[in-house]
Amino acid sequence: MSRTRVHIGTTEGPAEIQRLTAEPPEIRSVVCLDGRAVALPISRDYEGFVRRPTGIIERVWGGQAFRMDVGARVTDGLSWQLGAFLAHALHANGRLATSGVAPDAAVWATGEVDAGLAIRPVDEIPRKLELSAELLRGLAPLRPWVMVPAEAAAAASAALDSLGLAAACRLLPVARAEDALAAIGLVLPGAAPRAPDPAPPVRARRKRLMAVGIAAMVLLAIAVPAGWMAVTWRRTFLAWTDQAASGDLIALDQVLDRTGAEAGCLTCGPAVRRFRAWLATNLPDDNGPRIEAEGTQRSPYGGCRPPPPAGPAPVRAALADPSGLTVSTGLCRVRYLASGAPRIALIVSTRQPPDSVAIGAGEAAVTLDLPALYIYASEQRVIALGSKLPLESVLAWLRPQIPPPPAVLPDPLVKRLASVGIAARTLRHRVDPEHGL
């Protein structure tokens, strides 16, 4: 298999692409200098060139993060893109001549590649060729490709002539990236979209028959005596209501899910929806529990005493919106208070387990003594649950599923709780140290 080396033409001289390596996807793509731990400033643009949604490399060949080592600095601009594109194409086909591997062919390229794979013009091509003249002379036995944007064909041709390199190189003006790939014997990965299979007429007829059947079943269901339904559902509703009142809400949720999905039961779905609508009325009236923090300021002498009766009032704040972070300064003790629903549960977590938990009627409070390390901040995650229904068994079910702080309660959990009449709110509260002791 032939190996091709790629050189990027820059206004500071040519830069050889020494190697390409797929890196873990959590890394941002990076361009490094000569294998060293030196990221070049174009790395940010290279990340945008590689990764979707802007990146074309991931779109064409896959891979979210790469490290590209180059032999010389490439400081700015986007004219490195054509060379990088070709290097990725060769890499994907196992044909990139990496540093230390003798190449069978060579490409010198300059040009910008847009999202549609068109090659955009770049500046100073004669100067770039002049600075690369020595390299191109050295590569003459390989008759290197010199690839430039189509608009620069005349200028590049003239420059190669004046440098005496016209015969030593193969000038290729390129309008599209595919032209450049074709020159080195590559093509874009074929990814023609498949047209959806037309549904066979038999399937359409079967669908129509099914629709007719469903309509007939609905009519049949409507014809079921209303009295029978009323008796059956009244019994079921009463059982569910008892279960809700006992606080066994998660088991009830599972029963409702099963009942709603029962095959062949036309009335189950509507009944479950109606019961869930009733459950939702158990959510607190004023959009969920409120959380307040009442803090005691650390004494300048290191103690943590509540203020004397005539002294200043403790620091008090309603904690911010879940998207935000409330920050207080210099507190040594905080009392978190949740209210705003007939039944309240409060879970306060720091980075050191265990959590502090309180359940109450109308309000619940947790008091936390903060560590005395004077240079560090502490962050508390406060989760409050509010409902008109008992919360004890839900809390036992919920706690093992709560991610460690500082993560907030995941949306699916919040939605599931809401579906059984429980409002959940997560807030974050950071206490910074008091400076200037």
């Binding site: 890394i27 731990a37 901040a377 002791l437």
Partner: protein, 185 residues
């Protein structure tokens, strides 16, 4: 009777700051005349805590380690200039950590597949938690209040930073060490 800092007003604070700097420099000069290995001055500690490029000489580091006043001074200083902090991680893992988290920021360490001797250091900062006007300039690594290493951060827009560091460098070793504290300044 003491006067609160805030009572001085802007002009008074500038005067006080100028006096303090002059006194600190004068003390440093006297110390340099007296000793071949001068005790780090407040200016040295301040420079270490705020200037990404400033390094403490090994002898100065040793003095900080052995002098409780210097240690406390440095701790107070770091506490004052530091914007975000992560305390030593719980000793739950016997191996090196590849993720450190503090309120408002996360540091991830990822070995390069291209070269295992190099490690990516990715720092993600919650912009809401960053209250300074200027972007973070350095990541300090301390153990029990003593300097271990410092990472100068690139002057880039945004709060997602990525650097590559030698895997055996003090900074990578310090970040992997569960017993160190991290402070972003």
């Amino acid at each position: 009777m003491s006067v609160a800092w805030s009572d001085l007003g802007a002009e008074g604070q500038r005067h006080a700051e100028a006096h303090f700097i002059a006194a600190s420099l004068a003390a440093g000069l006297r110390e340099r005349e007296r000793s071949s290995e001068p005790r780090p001055s407040f200016a040295d500690l301040y420079a270490w805590a705020t200037d990404p490029a400033h390094r403490l000489a090994p002898a100065q580091q040793a003095m900080v380690a052995s002098d409780p006043d210097l240690r406390r001074g440095l701790a107070l200083l770091v506490g004052r200039v530091g914007q975000l902090r992560a305390v030593a991680a719980a000793a739950a893992s016997s191996g090196g950590l590849d993720r450190r988290e503090g309120p408002g920021f996360t540091v991830r360490l990822t070995a390069s597949r291209a070269d295992a001797a190099q490690t990516y250091v990715s720092i993600d900062i919650d912009p809401e938690s960053w209250r300074a006007d200027s972007p973070p300039a350095a990541l300090l690594v301390l153990r029990s209040g003593l300097p271990v290493a410092k990472l100068a951060l690139p002057d880039e827009p945004g709060f997602a930073l990525q650097l590559i560091e030698p895997t055996d460098s003090d900074i990578v070793r310090g970040l992997r060490d569960a017993g160190t504290d991290l402070v972003l300044v």
